[in-house]
Symmetry: C2
Subunit: 218 residues, 2 copies
């Protein structure tokens, strides 16, 4: 049974490796800045996690999760996303409010709790941000997703997920009328800075390239 802190490190590693597909390995500094602690602190913790066979790590080398570490991390992600779904579906939390509370709830230790919660929510497949919820066996159904930035002019697409889940990003998205399943029409694209004119619910907005890259659509 791991501590809150240990679980947070595993989840952070999972996000920086397996999930942010890129490279599968990460480093002390990256983890430190992701978790908002110092590299020294990360270093201490890595020794403990290595001892428990959750990460593989040699001094001055890159860090990866072991299979055991990966399995554990997926379970934390599962708990997090189920709680987000509960807050959103049952307790009227908004898109941008769920994350903070789920960060706490994900650490509650009870197998039965999570299984019953999943059942109560009727086995949801995605969380309020459109991210897939791993099943009890740790299986994650990834769907290939394009960002809004890749869609050609004139197309109509549907928002299925968001990359950034910070409150400020989500609040901005809500402000221009965007929610999960919103229909988006691409009206025009300014080559100059990559900004895009879109239509959502009959209202037009111009959004930056950076913003568009954080919206996943089909």
């Amino acid at each position: 049974m791991l501590s809150h802190a240990e679980e947070n490190y595993l989840k952070a590693m999972f996000h920086l490796t397996t999930m942010a597909e890129s490279s599968n390995e990460t480093g002390t500094n990256a983890l430190a800045s992701y978790l908002d602690v110092t590299p020294a602190t990360v270093n201490d913790m890595l020794k403990k996690l290595k001892e428990k066979d959750l990460v593989s790590y040699e001094k001055y080398r890159k860090i990866t999760l072991t299979q055991k570490g990966k399995d554990y991390a997926v379970d934390i992600v599962r708990r997090h996303r189920l709680w987000e779904t509960f807050l959103y579906e049952k307790l009227d939390f908004s898109w941008d409010e769920v994350h903070e509370v789920a960060e706490q709830l994900e650490h509650i230790k009870s197998k039965k709790l999570i299984e019953q919660l999943e059942k109560f929510l009727d086995y949801p497949v995605t969380d309020p941000h459109g991210d897939p919820i791993p099943n009890a066996k740790g299986k994650i159904k990834y769907q290939k997703r394009k960002t809004l930035a890749e869609i050609p002019i004139g197309s109509i697409c549907k928002l299925v997920a968001v990359k950034d889940t910070s409150a400020s990003f989500l609040q901005y998205a809500m402000k221009i009328g965007l929610g999960l399943s919103s229909t988006i029409e691409i009206l025009n694209r300014h080559e100059f800075d990559g900004s895009i004119e879109i239509k959502v619910n009959k209202s037009r907005s111009t959004v930056s390239l950076k913003f568009a890259e954080n919206l996943f659509v089909v």
Copy 2:
């Protein structure tokens, strides 16, 4: 914002004073044995809680909660009982399983969470053990309750709450057919050891005085 540990001390004090009506004050040893830590540890914590104006305490003297401490404790009890109700009502937890998980859930920090949870549960007034749930303002509706041990032979009464909420006690209660709202008929009482013959759901059992003292009935 208090730590898990600090919250646990406040709740323990509340149980040992205000709730277990008796004396309104308690001591280092009583707290230590209730929380399963050493008196030395309690002593350390008491100094911290005094600093924060949550308990009033002078060296070698008895300990009481301040009004501030009492208010905080009631809020923890409220959270605990709302979560127990949620687990029991919505997630199919049994009588004896709710407490352990609620011990963890009660520490989640989010005002909105508790208010929405209460709303979602439709403002319940008692938890699965029959104990009153404080409202958002900290008001607790106590009902005067007798124990089964005080009921005369021949009477019929209804179980409204249990004093002991340990899994072993609750499992035994379930085994002889008892649940909240069960109807109990007192058939006979053995003066010798105080044990009582009762009928629940048409089946007879003989229970000890100690057991009877842990059942509240009307």
